[in-house]
């Protein structure tokens, strides 16, 4: 299904979007390469959904170019794209099978093939007996599985998942993660639009982080962390944490957890030796680590 090409799967250059006087996205540029899981991050209102909607030609950009496989997206490219929109919806009064076949045929499958795939998918997710039931009669979790099925049934080479785990129960979240991994293994490109940083750390190869519609961070997770974050010492302890202005400063302190930033010329080893002999302190963890994406995100948005 995938074709090897030097052209990025998604190429967004100098994209700007204005709704009336409000500039929602400003001069945004990034690319997504074939086979990678790419995180499009930002808080609510940062411009993530607008970017995706414009990429998929649901909106017209104010300026800039947004290309999928080197071309402006048209519905003719639907068979290669699986889109899970932020606003989820299906025909609640229609039978599961009819609804899924309808969307699968719309994504380029033949009716018979679509029906076979739908039934196989329903069996896989434990809804084999629900094919002829109306969606409204299904639980929220079951409806979420149907929605995921509609997104992936035609085996798209590019999946765009807008807040995919939003409102998902743990079972469906796990199912989604497996599906993303499966698609990635099969060579699909995945764009994950989210503000859940733990998912990004688990899944994404590269990210772009938007703040107020502009690009604030862009690169691999490592690059972002190297560029933005400072390495800290994370401590888990009992007793009293001693202060030592010559060695370190305390950047964060909770009753049994603290983060230390060491001064120039000081090494973590020296601090460990100092703390190891400190009276009234019982160290359980001493971890020299880089900040998490969540911490970077919070810092950026403060």
């Amino acid at each position: 299904m995938l074709t090897q090409s030097s052209v990025p799967v998604v190429d967004i250059q100098s994209f700007a979007m204005r709704f009336g006087p409000k500039e929602v996205v400003k001069d945004l540029s990034f690319t997504v390469n074939q086979g990678e899981v790419f995180g499009l991050l930002g808080s609510n209102g940062a411009g993530k959904t607008t970017t995706i909607r414009t990429l998929l030609s649901l909106l017209e950009p104010t300026s800039g170019t947004l290309l999928v496989n080197g071309k402006r997206y048209t519905p003719a490219m639907a068979p290669m794209v699986g889109y899970l929109p932020e606003e989820r919806g299906l025909y609640r009064n229609e039978p599961v099978l009819d609804t899924m076949v309808y969307f699968a045929v719309m994504h380029g499958l033949g009716r018979n093939d679509a029906k076979k795939r739908v039934l196989a998918y329903l069996e896989r997710v434990g809804l084999g007996d629900k094919a002829h039931e109306r969606l409204i009669g299904l639980s929220n979790g079951q409806q979420q599985k149907i929605q995921l099925g509609v997104t992936i049934l035609h085996e798209p080479s590019l999946m765009i998942l807008d807040e995919p785990t939003e409102a998902l129960d743990p079972v469906n979240r796990d199912l989604l993660m497996n599906i993303i991994n499966e698609q990635r293994t099969n060579g699909a490109t995945v764009i994950l639009v989210t503000h859940r940083m733990e998912e990004v750390e688990q899944l994404c190869d590269r990210i772009v982080l938007l703040k107020d519609g502009a690009r604030a961070l862009y690169g691999t997770i490592d690059e972002v962390k190297n560029k933005f974050g400072t390495t800290v010492i994370a401590l888990a302890y009992g007793g009293a944490l001693p202060l030592n202005e010559k060695l370190y400063g305390v950047t964060k302190q909770l009753p049994h957890y603290a983060e230390l930033a060491w001064h120039e010329g000081v090494t973590p080893d020296e601090i460990l030796r100092f703390l190891a002999v400190a009276p009234d302190l019982h160290l359980t963890t001493f971890d020299v680590r880089r900040p998490t994406l969540n911490e970077i995100f919070l810092t950026l948005y403060k």
Partner: protein
């Protein structure tokens, strides 16, 4: 597009509400036929029974200032002469008489007066009829005594029947019969519009309510989707028409007298004029396309079908407004109001269908009106596509016309 048509048509056909809506007009028509048939039968029987009971039991008096009422008829019906109008009224009030008829000296211009015991409200008060018939029969007796021509008496006793033959450009026309075939399109347009109006709105508003628009628009072009929906509505309309027309036709052909079909009217006697029928079909199709597109567009503009339905009334009133000017359309088709209705997009379809049916359309006018409807229909389709393209993702908010035109 076939996928959309298949999905839209079959999901509607599977709904009970569709069949209830389709069958209800047929049931109403059949019930009305039944009620009318049995009412006429019952009313005729009642009138005959009432007349018989009335002549045998009622005590009736009269006072005749005109001198026109036949004494023999009065005697035959046991109606007694009162000494004066006042005495007759007093006799009714006292209960001595059931009814008293007063004939003024100039009954040709003044009313016959009836005074009677109250017998409740009736569409055909028996005493009124009796009093009038007495005078009419007396007048006919007088005339028949004077004339030797029995035709004169027959004309007075029974309204003469008329057979009209009309010509257009020297060729004999079929009169009212010629309006039947193109008139069927008027009824079909009217029925479909009323039956499908809310369906037209919900076809796009439903996508908004179900939050499916975004997935659809990334998979298919808005104009393909709207075209699919419009064709689906047409197909469903044809199903509804067939549901109503087929049983109705069977009833009309099987029981022509019972449903009040004029004598001699059969399917074969209905004239079929190709030009009128082609125009009727074009007005029907383009008119429906105009309203379907307009309502589909409204559905996409509003956050829900309920909110969009508030504007349904405006569309329905605009569409059926020409009915209120029916008399002008038939008798004075060149008045200003009919001309405006003929060329104003929202009133043009029904006006054109009506004028085409009654034959008050010149070819030039018909083509002009058709052009207006076709252009309006294309604008409406463009509007519907744009409304869906830009309005269907605005969940929970109405999209303004200005936004759509941007």
């Amino acid at each position: 597009m076939w996928n959309i048509i298949n999905f839209e048509v079959f999901r509607a056909l599977k709904k009970k509400s569709f069949w209830i809506a389709s069958l209800s007009p047929l049931l109403i028509i059949l019930v009305v036929f039944g009620i009318e048939y049995f009412s006429i039968k019952s009313a005729t029987t009642n009138a005959a029974q009432q007349a018989q009971a009335f002549s045998q039991t009622a005590k009736i008096g009269e006072f005749d200032d005109s001198g026109l009422v036949s004494k023999q008829l009065l005697a035959a019906q046991h109606i007694i002469a009162e000494p004066s109008k006042e005495a007759g009224i007093a006799a009714v009030k006292s209960g001595a008489l059931d009814a008293f008829f007063y004939y003024p000296n100039n009954p040709g211009t003044a009313n016959i007066e009836v005074y009677a015991q109250d017998q409740g409200i009736s569409f055909t008060p028996p005493y009124n009829t009796a009093a009038a018939q007495l005078l009419t029969q007396s007048a006919i007796s007088d005339v028949s005594a004077e004339t030797k021509n029995s035709q004169v008496v027959q004309i007075l006793q029974k309204s003469p029947a008329v057979t009209a033959t009309t010509y257009k450009n020297g060729v004999e026309t079929e009169g009212l019969l010629s309006a039947i075939a193109p008139g069927i399109f008027v009824i079909a347009f009217f029925l479909l519009f009323v039956l499908l109006a809310s369906f037209m709105i919900s076809s796009t508003a439903g996508e908004k309510e179900n939050r499916t628009a975004e997935m659809l628009l990334t998979s298919i072009k808005a104009r393909t989707l709207i075209a699919g929906k419009i064709i689906s509505i047409f197909i469903l309309g044809l199903v509804q028409l067939a549901t109503i027309a087929v049983p109705l036709l069977i009833v009309l052909l099987s029981f022509p007298k019972q449903v009040g079909l004029p004598a001699g009217v059969t399917l074969a006697s209905i004239p079929l004029h190709p030009v009128a029928i082609i125009f009727a079909a074009l007005f029907f199709i383009t008119g429906l396309l105009l309203f379907i597109s307009l309502l589909v567009g409204f559905g996409a503009m509003f956050p829900s079908a309920t909110e969009a339905s508030r504007f349904l009334g405006i569309a329905i009133i605009s569409a059926i407004l020409p009915v209120y000017s029916l008399e002008n359309i038939i008798d004075s088709p060149h008045t200003l109001i009919v001309t405006v209705f003929t060329y104003f997009p929202l009133t043009a379809p029904l006006t054109a269908l009506l004028r085409n049916a009654v034959g008050s359309f010149s070819t030039g006018e018909a083509l002009g009106s058709l052009a207006v409807i076709i252009v309006s229909a294309f604008v409406a389709v463009w509007f519907a596509v744009r409304a869906f393209r830009y309005g269907s993702m605005e969940y929970g908010r109405r999209v303004g016309i200005k936004e759509l035109l941007r």
